[in-house]
Each structure stands twice: as C-alpha cells, then as structure tokens.
Symmetry: C2
C-alpha cells in the first residue's frame, strides 16, 4: 500500500479511500492510484482490512463435502451474500473433519454470523454457539435457543407428492419414509394429511431411510407383501432409485406398473434411466432467506429466533403417470 501511495505520489490514506470507493478523492487521482496499483499488482489485504473494522461482513458457512444439495445451496449463498455486500468463508465437514472443527475454524476468522447447512449439532451445542455469535440453521429444524431456522416446508412437500399421485387417480399409495432422518417426521405427516384429507386413508407408511439400500430393502418388502401399491412416495431420490432398481429387476415398469415420487431433485432424478418425478426444494429462496436472517441478526441480535418455511415445488418427470386401468 505504501508502495502504491509513493508511486502515485499520494498518502496511504488516499489509496485506502480509492480502494474503498468512498468520496474524498478526485477522479484524476483515483485513476492515478489505480494505475499504480495495477502496475504493482496490488490488491488490498482482506485480513488487515477486516481487522480494523468492527463488522467483518463475512458469513461463515459449514457444509458437508460431497453433498449435492449443499453445493446447490452454496451457489445460492454466494449470490445472496454478494447482494448484501458480504463475503463467504467456507468450512467443509467430512468423515474425519467434524462440525465442531469446522465451526472453530470459522470462529477463529471472526465471522459476523454462522450459517450451518444441515447441521448435525445437538440443541445444547447449537444454543451455546448461538450465545456467542448469530447462528442460522439451514435445511434443518431445531428449537435451540437463539438459533434462526430456514428450511423447506417438508409437510407441504410430501403433501404435494401425495396429491400429485391422488390427482393422477392412484388409490393405493404407500410412503417409504426416512426413519429418524431430519425432516422424516414432517414428510410422514404431510403424506398422511394429504391422503386422509382426500378420503383415501388410512395412510400407509413403511420403514425406509436415506440410502439406496434402504430403498431397495423397502422394495423387497413391498413385493413380498402382496399386490404392489400403484403409487409410492419415497423419502428422497437416493432411496427412490434403490427401490426402483429392485422393482425393475422384478419386471415392474414405471409409470405403467407403479408411479414413484422422490424428494430433492438431485442429479440422479434427472438421469435418463430414472426420470424421477420429485419434490424440489427452492434452493435460491433458502439461500436468500438464510443470508437475510444472518445479516438482520448481526444488525440487531435482540429479536427472538424465528423459523422460515420455504415452499417446495413438484418436478414432474416420467416416473409418474395414471394407473393402468387394466391391472
């Protein structure tokens, strides 16, 4: 910075003014400073810049590496943060790098707020964290004190899936659930409410899970239990494709023999093989709201924690259709 100032024949303060783009310098000088900086390959050191500022305008984000949905969220967060003139500091979690470590890293950077994507932290840990720094839990519900929540309305999502099948004319629906996974309760509830509400109850749910194997296991049970239901709402896309694989090996076709709805609109749902009708979470809205809540809470930490539900939407593909009347 000193070099740039010297080369442009001004003081360091002037260089600072130019790079912060604030009033206090003539156009002519601005040009001269910028030219000098370009020649010297100078760009302000962000660490030093943040150090002398009360607010860092940096949002810390923890996410699971390799989690497609988190990657989508991050893309949205980059956009949303830029819109609020903030930056992102990323800290990934993996098998041998847990969330505590990721959070500690971000705290050492003195982020203004923390956005935890699908956090696995317990409520006490979350509450403790929220006492130190504004925390927004994204895509995960919690009642931890002081933690803002931004997530998809899973009750509505599962209901959307169920109603889609009901509208197509399916009478025998089954929900392959997510067991104890985050959001599984809400999805069970949404499915049941939709089915019961349409007078097609009682709603039938069978144990599932998050993985392909979970879906495959559920498919095996359904095939063994007698006549296959014509409509299946599965906890997520991954479980759905595991299920579909077993059904296909048993000679069942979609949408002719069975209609299947997934959840998440992950890449596999788009595959030519599955063409999976699925519930899409509004990633952009989630990201925008998460950043907004974080920024708001930085401004004013006082208000009680709030929860934002974002409406999901249905993406109809080839895995669903009217039931074959001949069967």
């Amino acid at each position: 910075m000193t070099d740039v100032a010297e080369r442009a024949g001004v003081s360091r303060a002037l260089v600072s003014i130019v790079f912060r783009d604030v009033p206090g310098a003539s156009e002519q000088t601005r040009a001269r400073v910028k030219a000098a900086a370009a020649e010297l390959g100078y760009a302000p050191d962000r660490r030093a810049r943040l150090l002398s500022r009360r607010r860092t305008r940096v949002l810390g984000v923890t996410f699971a590496l390799g989690h497609e949905f988190h990657a989508d969220l991050l893309a949205g967060l980059y956009r949303a943060a830029a819109a609020h003139d903030h930056e992102l500091a990323l800290s990934g979690t993996t098998g041998d790098r847990d969330e505590d470590e990721a959070v500690a890293d971000l705290l050492a950077l003195r982020c203004d707020a923390l956005l935890l994507l699908g956090s696995a932290l317990g409520e006490p840990a979350l509450a403790r964290l929220a006492a130190t720094v504004p925390v927004v839990a994204v895509a995960r519900g919690t009642r931890a004190a002081g933690v803002d929540v931004v997530r998809t309305d899973d009750v509505a999502g599962a209901a959307l899936a169920a109603r889609h099948l009901l509208d197509l004319g399916h009478a025998r629906l089954v929900h392959v659930d997510g067991g104890a996974a985050a959001g599984a309760d809400e999805r069970r509830r949404g499915f049941a409410t939709a089915v019961d509400g349409a007078g097609r109850g009682p709603a039938v749910t069978t144990g599932g899970g998050l993985t392909e194997d979970d879906g495959a296991a559920a498919a095996g049970r359904l095939l063994a239990e007698g006549p296959l239901p014509t409509g299946l709402v599965v906890f997520n896309d991954q479980s759905a494709v595991g299920l579909m694989d077993v059904l296909q090996q048993a000679g069942r076709r979609w949408p002719e023999d069975v209609s299947v709805v997934g959840y998440d609109d992950s890449p596999v749902a788009r595959s030519r093989w599955a063409r999976l009708t699925t519930v899409r979470q509004d990633v952009d809205a989630l990201a925008r709201l998460a950043v907004l809540r974080a920024v708001e809470r930085v401004e004013d930490p006082a208000p009680p924690a709030r929860e934002d539900l974002v409406a999901p939407s249905l993406v109809v593909r080839g895995s669903t259709g009217p039931p074959d009347p001949s069967r």
Copy 2:
C-alpha cells in the same frame, strides 16, 4: 487477549507463547493462561495472527461446487494440509462465479499458495498467476510456466481399462472418448497403446463427451452402425451411464451382451443399476502430493515446475465380464 493476560496475571506476550505452543512458559503458567482463556471464551483471532506472520500457512483452494470428484479431493486436502500444519481457504466456482473471482478472493487473503482443482484457466493466465504466487494445478495438465502439476496418469488409466477387457477375452473394443475435454487425449492414447500393444489393433475410437447425453448419442451411433462391440471403454462414468441407458432400452444387457468400463468411480458407478466397472483416481495421493508440492514451493520457489503423475486403479464391478461365446 489483553483480558486473558490480565486474568492470568501475565503479559500478552506470554499468552501468545502459550497459544502458539512454543517454549518459554512454565507448565504452571500455561495451565493458568488456558484456564483464563476458557473462562473468557477466548480463541486467537486468526486474521490478526496471520497478519503479523510472514508465512500464513494457508493454502487457497479453488474448486467447482457440486463436482463430486472435487469434493473427494477436498477431503483429502484437509487431511494433507493438517499433516503439514497448514490450513485451507476454500473458494468455490459456480455458473455465475468464475475462477478469476475465486482466485482474486484467495489472493486477497494472502494465501501462501494456490491449489486449483481442475482449473479452466488458460496457460497465459496460469503463468501470470504463477508469477505472483506458487500455483499447483490439480487434476489438470498444463505447460504454463512455473505451474506445478499433480494429476492422474490418464494414459495408464485408459490402458488399465482396455487391458481389463482384453484379459477377459474381448476382441472388439471401442473407446467412446471425451472429445476436447481435459485428459481426453491421454485416455485416447492409453487405450490405443494397450489395444495395439496386445495385437488387437487398430484401436477404434468414437466421438463422445462428458455428459450422459454424449454417451447416449454414442450408443445410438454404435447400435446403428452394425454389430455392437463387446467391450466399451467410456471417457467417464456419466457418459457411460447415458450410454448404458440407451443400450438397455435396446434390449442389451451387461455384462452378457456388452462390457462397459467407466472412469472416475463416481457415486453413480456404485449404483445398483449400473454396477459400473471403472477407473478410480487415487484421490488421497493426489491431495497429498498437491499439498506437498505447494509447501515445497513456498519454501523454495526456485526449482522448475514439475509434473506428478499418480497411478489410477481399476474397480471391477458387474458391468464387465467375459464375452458370451454363443454370440
């Protein structure tokens, strides 16, 4: 820091000594300082710490968000960086956040070195960057001046795939290539060398690409062109599953009618449907080497750029088998 020092009844310098874990404090005092810090919820501010240190011991990493292979690499990089007592600063690229932006962000943090995962930067841009800061290109070849390269030996990888099929007894092999993608040339070469070397030449290659659609298009051409080859080596897993989908719709089975080998060992290769035999890149070795080269070059920027090739391995699954002699 001042608060902690006061509470422990020592100077700030002592607190620094304790937290840097360097000699110069008695065990007794260390304990007292740490206790005081814990009570006050103090952790050193990394920005300030780095600011006053010549070397930051931070490695900047650019990666493509949502790219499974990059996520795997990052997990390895976290491990490798920790082993060298370094930290990682992540900067993702997306559709509307390009690599230049990601790199500028990292430079503003004054990282010691940059690791670019599958960089799309041109050679001039890379060379320019390398003149400013040590740069390691990971999973991507380049001859840009001053840029170290760490990547998989794609020639060997494609040869591995071809030899696997040859060993199984396949006589008619075709390589569905990656067009102009990074690594496509090497894989073509490896395939051709293996086939020619086994006296089963001339090697046949057909145009492919990176996506499912590319693979599907290639499959359509192969089906139309006459008798289907019994062994296919495809540029990557994604293209392979697109191809397999079309083959399946045409009534072909694997491994009975056709054996298919992919590349990358991505999650889709593990799917129950595809069970794709594939070439796995040694992510851990790539990550370890990348960090090592970066750290070395920070120590001593002088030596000429070097290129490290990491040996890939074959993961055999259900998509390959001996050719059916009855056909």
